[in-house]
Symmetry: none
Subunit: 246 residues, 2 copies
DNA sequence: CGCCTTCGTAACAGCATGTAACAGGAGCCC
DNA sequence: GGGCTCCTGTTACATGCTGTTACGAAGGCG
């Protein structure tokens, strides 16, 4: 996970400072802004992951600015406002806001929303559409879905077993997205329904499977940690994935 | 099997996120949508293999949308609804839905239906999942956010554990800004809420963690005190941080 | 200087993970 | 069928990570 860069937009100095301070102390990189032109300046200057936008910006309407930003940029926007009436909330969502928080808000709640929106956005990959079969390139490796073969960065062919192939596919479909063991197991139709109880099987099957895939796919020390372990959680494919022309 | 692309349409954020998340973790590529216009946008932008459509879309009727989509597109549609009465089920089928699932539904069942419906025509995608790299330079050190590695001023690589990495990120995001132990702990999702009481845990976890990070990062006596202690308060990263392009 | 608080850190215990070894099963060839 | 090979889940053990504890050092204050 990279460090998220937030843009806090509010023309009220106190509120802006409070928000900025709070979010900084919560581990975010925060840029404060008060006007439309400052927003533009920051957007031009560097990457922004999320905009916290006050609905009342002096004479300007945050909702309008939100709509405007939405037309030109992709990053998520959270609207902040003292107006919490439902129709106003709807107005926010309709112009494309990812969330709408009413003041005064619980700091914990704000954090939760920010993280939720960031998480959601992180899961929306940027796409490039082309025509192709299904060959995926990831971290130098090539997976050919038609032949069920994997080619190493050096050009060596590696044969994967059924389980290993299934696992790789699930990972390729979810790059950068953490997957728990349970989710992986479900995707592979492992430890099917045990009637009612979540028998949790002997659990370690996924670990061993991941280990086996690693031993075949991560031999190259130049591209390590393709498959990262998330302690207490599961695993992630920590590399970009590209689909290729056949 | 290619990776299927699903469009999940529901105006209820929670339900939509739940569905999206579940299907993604089951190996599908999922695009979420909440409104009629979002549906159109996604359909225009790229291939969709299956649409999961909620019957109640705010003011709009999912059934109507379904009929409309059917007139213009060929892809299969599964209607999802809290209304399970037979006549409504029939209304769904009559407008051309390929299946009709009543909420609340068994996730396994949903998966089975989706896979069944997908067991028909399919094309092939091409997509790119990208992720920006982040590198930060601080006090001679370099942190590579993509590889989670730290390089010393002398050029030696240092491996950080998960917690150490998290801590470093929070510090990098807040250079020169004092952070209390509580703030750090919150950022690391430590000692979550203990129900009601702020149990304060045994407290010293952060101290120990800081110590461990120091032992790895401050070995160079030429650049001491990167990580300063604020007695009675917390810690500060006492150096400038520069973000680098990948 | 004496007392109390805060901090640094070594040692420890619990636990999650990596992995080698094993055993049952499916497919295959003779 | 018998024997072989590969695949796959289980088990057992080694390793590394993480929070806790304990104790001594350092800081603060009268």
């Amino acid at each position: 996970m990279t460090i998220a860069r937030l843009l806090v937009v509010d023309d009220d100095t106190d509120m802006r400072d409070m928000l900025t301070d709070f979010l900084r102390r919560s581990g975010f990189f925060v840029l404060p802004a008060a006007t439309r032109s400052e927003i533009r300046a920051h957007l031009t200057a560097g990457r922004i992951d999320l905009i916290l936008l006050d609905v009342m910006l002096g004479d300007e309407s945050g909702v309008e600015i939100c709509a405007e930003l939405r037309r030109e940029h992709e990053m998520p926007i959270i609207l902040v406002s003292a107006l919490s009436a439902d129709h106003q909330r709807m107005a926010g969502y309709e112009v494309g806001a990812d969330d709408y928080i009413a003041k005064p808000f619980n700091p914990r709640l704000l954090l939760a929303r920010v993280r939720a929106v960031l998480g959601r956005a992180r899961r929306t990959p940027s796409l490039v559409y082309r025509r192709s079969t299904e060959r995926y390139r990831f971290g130098g490796w090539l997976y050919d879905g038609k032949r069920d073969e994997v080619t190493s960065p050096a050009g060596f062919q590696v044969t994967l077993s059924r389980r290993e192939t299934q696992l790789l596919k699930v990972l390729l479909a979810n790059p950068h997205i953490p997957l728990t063991r349970e989710e992986i197991a479900a995707s592979l139709d492992m430890h099917a329904e045990d009637g009612a109880e979540e028998a949790e099987t002997s659990g370690r099957a996924i670990d061993v499977l991941v280990g086996r895939l690693r031993s075949k796919i991560e031999r190259d020390p130049k591209v390590p940690d393709l498959l990262k372990t998330l302690r207490g959680t599961g695993y992630v494919l920590a590399t970009d994935v590209t689909a290729e022309e056949a």
